[in-house]
């Protein structure tokens, strides 16, 4: 790794206006529903009202007879258009085995969750399509649903997938170190059963796709609200049984993803297939009800965890049994790996000498679970950080002291954890110390001003796994690449085009990578345009997520820009007959380094290179364009400590967050404003999961949270301003020492808030072991005679 050159320091870590903003503010953003496609048909679905039922018959005639309806499809029609969505264990890949899952595009034979798509209607507009979908007559035979994951594990439970012997999708076992011995000789064993509620990403823009087949070019163009244009392209080609080179995917603007849109869904594939079959553009724009019921849920795990500790607070061993309710299908095309990430996240920043875990991922008659900001990390951190506080309290040790004692020290890095993860660098104790310092001074640190309010402070430290390599992804589950490409081209006028394999859903990539390339090239970022999201205009990449883009796309951009810069300087050297070491790029010109005197405009050198008149050796091609593919190290780890002060109203159970502190270390920061924005936004989502957001199913598998009146993301009065401090411990392995951090803000809030709540109510010795911590649940922790 090279540290960024000193001259780039001014631009790096700078606060600049975002290039994305003017077009959005002026109303020129184009999300999928904004793409004008004359003659487009709208798709709507008749969806299952039952969690588990056999489809006895479907009568589509009442729907077909409505004027303006183009076609009505059932599963037989869909299967003709779309190859099966099937996910299987591939033994040649390192990921653990799992059951095969066949996800029908339209429900076939039976439905497996409320909201599953059964009949598709394409019509002149969405209102008509909904009229037709409502007119379809379906005869059902209700089957007994299974909705509780622990019950679903039992062999006598109703089967979600009839071809499986039971409902268990996957079991993973792990053991390392002297686990039995650790628990035998422990002075204290603390154990708890943690329940993390089901919630979801809820981006403000739901899913959406618009597809159009152009007979002139024979290309199927698909506009999609996606985090992975290239992967979606490959999937569309696969299921439509056509060549990948005949499909183009374009993501212009995407209204948030948070992991949900790093998946492919049957509705999307059907829309693309219909566009090709009907030779008319077809659009499917999910509405909020579909989004809440039938898109993709997240979290929903039970963690039974035990920690063995010595009298002095040293952690001797850890055991965890993790059950994940994955719903009816699995995340496509990846295969669910949530529970395994939870298990891997538990050790966190601590030295754990022995660790045994079992994860069980169980199918139920609910919407499928998939990746959402942090994946299993918020759950693992919740369990671990609660156990640390519980153990500290039982031992009578200060919980900060207990954390510090067990944390990996700065000079112990690179540190190989008990799971074999190598943490390359970190500032766990420093972040903790700083967080304590920040939260201990300032407002709301005194006693609350009402006798019925209890105030508490809580902490949560974590290590975030970011930017995994290809091998690590494939070991987790997804059969994909960890690398990313970037193309950097300097045009003949000296302006620069950067093309990325990833695309942004709000993470400011176009600003950040223009800054990075500008810093390398020594030019103004205004001269750089970053192109993303269009598979016809970008090198083939993978996806935006896993906190990987700054590291991997960033690494590729920087490396490619360096090649452009080096070639430019090399040509300038030939043309000026000065050695490269005496040249520098500044203010739009090649200049003499010694005194800054301009020698020639950049454009002049660039053009000369492009037409072969720069005097470069014959083995260097004409052209000032490089595509670099960067494969990151196995895992890059950032770390942080969150601290929260909460006030609990002991009469109502309401929790108010008075202050929230984050001390974050993500190594070298490309743009602190963007990093801070990601933290603030991530914390807001974490607060949602901690206190407000819950997807609720009843015992019949009916989903009760089908509108935003029932599913409650936090609003402006609910989210405090996060006080942020940064420590910068670069990675020794990545380009410029950059580490990922996009998910981090969402990882620790449930733990920090739960710990603060436990602290506030410590006189009642509460069991704080689940989320969301609704007022009613909090009130149940307070004995009645005290809640006056």
């Amino acid at each position: 790794m090279k540290t960024p050159p000193a001259t780039t320091a001014k631009l790096l870590g700078a606060r600049v206006h975002r290039v994305e903003d003017p077009r959005v503010l002026l109303g020129h953003a184009r999300f999928v529903d904004d793409i004008a496609l004359p003659g487009k048909l709208a798709l709507a679905f008749a969806r299952s009202p039952y969690a588990h039922a056999r489809i006895v018959s479907i009568n589509t005639e009442p729907a077909r007879s409505i004027p303006g309806i183009e076609c009505v499809l059932t599963s037989a029609d869909a299967n003709e258009l779309v190859a099966p969505l099937r996910m299987e264990h591939r033994p040649s890949f390192p990921a653990p085995p799992c059951r095969p899952v066949q996800w029908p595009v339209l429900a076939e034979g039976k439905v497996r969750f409320v909201g599953e798509a059964v009949v598709a209607v394409a019509a002149e507009n969405r209102a008509l399509a909904e009229d037709a979908a409502a007119a379809v007559e379906i005869e059902w035979e209700e089957l007994e649903p299974v909705t509780d994951p622990e019950r679903a594990r039992r062999p006598e439970s109703p089967r979600v997938h009839d071809e499986w012997p039971d409902n268990i999708f996957q079991t993973v076992e792990f053991s390392a170190g002297p686990v039995a011995d650790a628990f035998d000789r422990a002075d204290l064993v603390v154990s708890e059963r943690f329940r993390i509620g089901r919630h979801m990403a809820l981006p403000m823009e739901g899913r959406g796709i618009a597809a159009s087949f152009d007979p002139a070019s024979e290309i199927l163009t698909v506009w999609a609200s996606t985090q992975m244009p290239h992967v979606l392209r490959a999937e569309i080609a696969r299921v439509l049984r056509c060549a990948e080179n005949s499909v183009r995917v374009i993501a212009v603007d995407v209204g948030g993803g948070f992991g949900l849109k790093s998946h492919v869904f049957p509705e999307e594939l059907l829309a693309a297939a219909l566009a090709r079959r009907l030779a008319r553009p077809v659009e499917w724009i999910e509405d909020r009800r579909e989004h809440l019921i039938a898109s993709q849920h997240a979290r929903d795990q039970i963690v039974r965890a035990e920690m063995a500790v010595a009298r002095d607070g040293a952690i001797l061993g850890l055991r965890a049994h993790i059950t994940c309710d994955i719903g009816a299908y699995t995340e496509y095309p990846w295969r669910t790996f949530e529970a395994n990430v939870t298990a891997m996240a538990m050790p966190g920043p601590y030295r754990i000498p022995a660790y045994q875990y079992t994860t069980v991922s169980v199918a139920t008659n609910k919407c499928s679970i998939g990746a959402y900001r942090g994946v299993g990390q918020p759950i693992g951190v919740f369990a671990m950080e609660r156990l640390v506080d519980i153990a500290a309290a039982r031992l009578g040790i200060d919980r900060i002291e207990m954390r510090t004692r067990n944390m990996i020290a700065r000079d112990e890095h690179p540190y190989t954890t008990i799971t074999g993860d190598q943490i390359e660098s970190g500032s766990h104790r420093e972040c903790l110390r700083k967080a304590v310092e920040m939260i201990s001074s300032g407002p709301h640190t005194g006693r609350p001003n009402s006798p019925s309010i209890r105030r508490g402070v809580g902490f949560a430290s974590y290590v975030e796994m970011t930017a995994p390599s290809s091998m690590v992804w494939q070991t987790l589950g997804p059969p994909g690449s960890g690398s990313e490409p970037a193309m950097v081209r300097m045009e003949t006028d000296g302006s620069v085009t950067v093309a990325l394999g990833t695309n942004s859903q709000g993470q400011s990539h176009q600003t950040v990578f223009a800054q990075a390339a500008a810093a390398v090239l020594g030019i103004d970022p205004d001269r750089i345009r970053v192109v993303q999201g269009d598979t016809a205009a970008t090198p083939r990449g993978w996806f935006a997520g896993g906190s990987r883009v700054a590291v991997v796309s960033g690494g590729a951009v920087i490396r490619a820009a360096e090649k452009v810069r080096d070639k430019l300087l090399g040509a300038a050297s030939m043309m000026s007959e000065l050695p490269v070491s005496e040249l520098v790029i500044r203010g739009g010109s090649i200049c003499r380094a010694a005194d800054g005197a301009p020698i020639s405009p950049i454009a002049e050198v660039a053009e000369a290179i492009w037409i072969g008149r720069a005097g470069l050796p014959p083995d260097e091609d004409q052209g000032l364009e490089f595509t670099v593919r960067y494969e990151p190290p196995p895992v890059t780890h950032s770390n942080a400590c969150h601290a929260a002060i909460v006030d609990v109203d002991t009469e109502t159970g309401t929790v108010a967050i008075r202050r929230y502190v984050v001390v974050e270390d993500c190594g070298t920061m490309l743009n602190p404003d963007v990093v801070d924005g990601q933290i603030q936004g991530g914390v807001a989502q974490g607060i949602g999961g901690a206190l407000y957001e819950e997807i609720v199913y009843d015992d019949n598998g009916q989903i009760l949270t089908g509108t935003l009146m029932d599913y409650m993301p936090p609003t402006a009065p609910d989210v405090p301003r996060v006080e942020i401090a940064h420590i910068e411990t670069p990675s020794p392995f990545t380009v410029w020492g950059i580490k990922g951090m996009g998910e981090g803000g969402a990882i620790a809030p449930p733990a920090a808030i739960a710990n603060a709540l436990a602290d506030a109510l410590r006189e009642f010795d509460p069991r704080v072991n689940r989320t969301p911590l609704t007022p009613e649940r909090v009130l149940s922790m307070i004995p009645s005679k005290n809640s006056r």
Binding site: E130, T652, Y692, D710, M712, P717, T774, P775, S787
Partner: protein
Amino acid sequence: MKPPRLSYARPESLDDALSLAARYGADAKLLAGGQSLVPMLNLRLADPGILIDLNRLSSLSGIRRENGSLRIGALTRHRELELSAEAAAAEPMLKRAAREIGHLAIRNRGTVGGSIAHADPSAEWPLLAVALDAKLGLRSQRKSRTVPAREFFAGPFTTCAEPDEILTEIDFPLATSGGGFGFQELCRRPGDFAIVAVACRLDLENGRCTAARIAVGGAGPTPLHLPAVEAIVKGSRGENDAINEAAAAASRAVDPASDLHGSADYRRRMVAVLARRALSEAFTNASPS
């Protein structure tokens, strides 16, 4: 999430509106602010077929004193009431409650009459109407009548209004000088529907309560008037014992249902908590006589 097919009529006068209501009755729905009705159309939870838009009936809007009451036209927007100096002077609890309704954009369109006619058991205006013993003016082509709010609500989203009747005005009593009010609403986030809410208005003489009006919302199929609680409060000076006894009585008087946002048991307990807080507030905030 698009509305079903429908037809739309926009009368320009109250007589035209009454004529349409008479003609279409239960086959039509009246459209005022739309903040409750249109979501139901979009979600296809309502399929009225015919909408009668009342928004051109400017005679149904306005706030003024009339015959010793504060008369609020049914079409008055929440926002207008929130900002009205007239209303604040006549009964300050109205302004206090108006601020809690939804969010700014909802208050800009939603109407007092629409909220009362919609009869959501958790909504603010039905609660205040019952608490303050408001009188509701209803008109049809056949007749005009006045119905006490305490007799108007029959169940969740159900009133005694007949299919051809239009709610035209709500008369709130003027607050007596020297009294105090308490308004307590428990919700998950600001602007949400209340889990439970308590409204009370006390008349006070030299610190002693001479008359009390108290109701609770969100704890039953309709807002519930609490005469048993009023009886305990009347004659007291807001002593802890009296308030606690009153709060306990309030809790015993309700029989709430359980739902996603609160179990019956939680709601019952919160009724006691909010009743205590509302009564303390009323005694503490009493304006000097």
